[in-house]
């Protein structure tokens, strides 16, 4: 098999890191969206959903501008580490997180909002803090939605192309992901390699999604209210 294992490794590490980062920043955003009573909540929801409609090139362009060596963030990062963000794994990670944000936040928020609010209030009245209530009541009851968001983030990152090309480029072992490898193979008329890698990506994506949906149906069905 002429699979590009180096690209596979980059893709999986990127998808896993993106998923973890999205879990850490996506849950607080989703909690805010699910429970806030602010009128301008819709603006935040719209911003979170933007990557669904924007072409990846537009998103990639703004990330390049925002994190490039001429931007304050880019300069600060360069002073601190001596490296630049664009065309590095870190830069790619930032872009991936933004690009997959709606795939994590929307299922998270829907799952949190569907938990009976009185359960949360009951927990508060029993003297349990908001953070502990999240861990003991909200997270367990919203788990199916949280898992869905994580799986979608993982699968979506695995398959992204435009953003990777714009922000990451094509550095083997650093930013060259599976989707870029396939594109390169086709450009080089190496259809055997492109076919093998494509099939691999197809099988992995399908297996991840199928497992998740199967698990959700079985394990959490008894939790739904009568």
């Amino acid at each position: 098999m002429n699979l590009d294992w180096q690209a596979v490794r980059v893709s999986i590490v990127l998808a896993a890191s993106t998923t973890i980062v999205l879990l850490l920043i996506g849950l607080p955003i989703a909690y805010w969206i699910a429970f806030t009573r602010r009128r301008w909540k819709f603006l935040v929801e719209a911003i979170v959903a933007l990557p669904l409609v924007l072409p990846p090139t537009v998103l990639g362009f703004y990330v390049l501008v925002a994190l490039g060596p001429r931007s304050p963030i880019g300069r600060w990062y360069e002073d601190w580490t001596g490296r630049t963000i664009p065309f590095s794994f870190q830069g790619l990670l930032v872009a991936s997180v933004l690009y997959s944000l709606p795939f994590a936040v929307q299922p998270f928020a829907a799952a949190l909002a569907s938990v009976d609010r009185r359960l949360v209030e009951a927990s508060w009245c029993l003297g349990v803090s908001r953070a502990r209530t999240f861990v003991r009541v909200l997270a367990p009851l919203a788990l199916p939605g949280i898992v869905t968001g994580m799986v979608l983030s993982f699968a979506h990152t695995l398959g992204e192309f435009g953003v990777v090309l714009m922000v990451g480029g094509n550095l083997p072992g650093v930013t060259r992901t599976v989707s870029i490898a396939i594109y390169d193979d086709v450009q080089a008329l190496d259809y055997a390699a492109a076919g093998a890698t494509s099939l691999f990506l197809l099988i992995v994506s399908f297996a991840v999604l199928a497992t998740t949906y199967a698990l959700q149906r079985k394990v959490w069905a008894p939790w739904t209210r009568p």
């Binding site: 209030e121 927990s123 009245c125 003297g127 349990v128």
Partner: protein, 366 residues
């Protein structure tokens, strides 16, 4: 009397909705159950939520003993975590992913493991639901869920118990059994309780004191007997129903299906509803009381009460006559009858009450 345990004085307006005003005290002496009574939508639950800290009043104060829980002017608003009320939700809101034991122990998180386990065991034993410990809420009946929810609220030993329509989630046959149990339990807990209900029977069976809400305001507060037999105004009378409510106790079952209760020294005969003993409430609708003066002929009514007229209040086409016959009883008669009998304050009259017109409500063991 000491300072009240809970003092609520709040206002809350919902945008485009009703305006709710409430002034309410829970006495600090012992274990009385105060019922917040009123029709659906009167704002009862909102008041309860304001006490628990789940709803923020627009204006006012909520105090508990010497602590201030809410004060709009001083900008104090304690979160529910620091008020630690024992709130029982209408549909119980048990945590579906936790066992009964974990639900009951949920509010004990800051205590050492051994103490926590002991407290859970004690609470389950007190409620006689030890056998349910490993089950999950979905595997419980309505009555069992209510007990578990009560256990969860009681385990951390809250200063005040707040019950929101505790029986409305149950089906009718269960409700009756659970009601008697709940009364007994509340009496044995000796914990100040505020209970919200729109059901008269529930209010009568569970409460010691009653606060009647109507049109977003508390109209009258007092002992159950007083409020039911001496409503402050027409609104209250309409909300509680025109009825005389008397504390009585069962003394005898003279013959099949009949029961004799005593109010002070006066005996009353009623139809035996079964399963009652000790303290009861005797309820007599004012429209079921017949008044007569002069020599008494043969009448079928078993209960004849002689007394003096203490007040006469016109109510539309009718007149409410209050008679003092060792206790107060109200009769509703037409203006015409009032004229023809020449009823005036201080007159001596006889009131007739038919046996089936005396409704008895169990109050659990006294």
């Amino acid at each position: 009397m000491d300072a009240p345990l809970i003092l609520v004085q709040v206002e809350r307006t919902f945008p485009g909705g009703p305006r709710i005003e409430c002034e309410l005290e829970l006495p600090s002496d012992g274990a009385s159950v105060t019922v917040l009574f009123g029709p659906s939508g009167a704002g009862k639950t909102t008041i309860l939520r304001c006490v628990a800290g789940l709803e923020r009043p627009d204006r006012g104060t909520v105090r508990c003993g010497d602590e201030t829980w809410f004060d709009s002017e001083r900008g104090i608003d304690l979160p529910p975590q620091r008020r630690r009320t024992g709130l029982l939700f209408q549909d119980y809101a048990l945590f579906p992913h936790l066992t009964v034991a974990a639900n009951v122990g949920y509010g004990l998180g800051d205590r050492p493991e051994a103490e926590r386990r002991q407290r859970v065991a004690d609470t389950l034993a007190m409620l006689r639901i030890e056998g349910l410990a490993p089950r999950r809420p979905l595997q419980l009946s309505g009555g069992e869920r209510q007990r578990v929810a009560l256990g969860r609220a009681l385990a951390p030993q809250p200063r005040v118990l707040l019950l929101d329509e505790p029986l409305s989630a149950l089906d009718a046959p269960t409700r009756e059994a659970v009601r008697t149990d709940l009364r007994r339990l509340l009496a044995s807990l000796a914990r100040p309780t505020l209970l919200v209900t729109h059901d008269r029977i529930e209010a009568l069976a569970l409460g010691d004191r009653i606060a009647v809400m109507s049109g977003g305001r508390v109209r009258q507060v007092g002992p159950i007997e007083d409020v039911f037999s001496r409503p402050a105004d027409l609104e209250v009378a309409r909300a509680v129903g025109v009825e005389t409510v008397l504390n009585a106790h069962v003394v005898d079952r003279p013959s099949e299906g009949l029961i004799t209760v005593q109010i002070g020294a006066v005996p009353l005969t009623a139809v035996d509803p079964g399963h009652i003993d000790g303290q009861v409430l005797a309820c007599i609708r004012a429209e079921d009381v017949v008044l007569e003066r002069g020599p008494i002929g043969q009448v079928s009514a078993r209960n004849r009460l002689s007394g003096t007229v203490s007040s006469i209040t016109p109510e539309g086409p009718l007149v409410r006559v209050r008679l003092d016959c060792g206790f107060a009883i109200s009769a509703l008669v037409t203006r015409q009858a009032c004229r023809e009998l020449g009823i005036a304050e201080g007159e001596v009259l006889t009131a007739f009450v038919k046996t089936p017109s005396v409704h008895l409500i169990a109050r659990g063991s006294a």
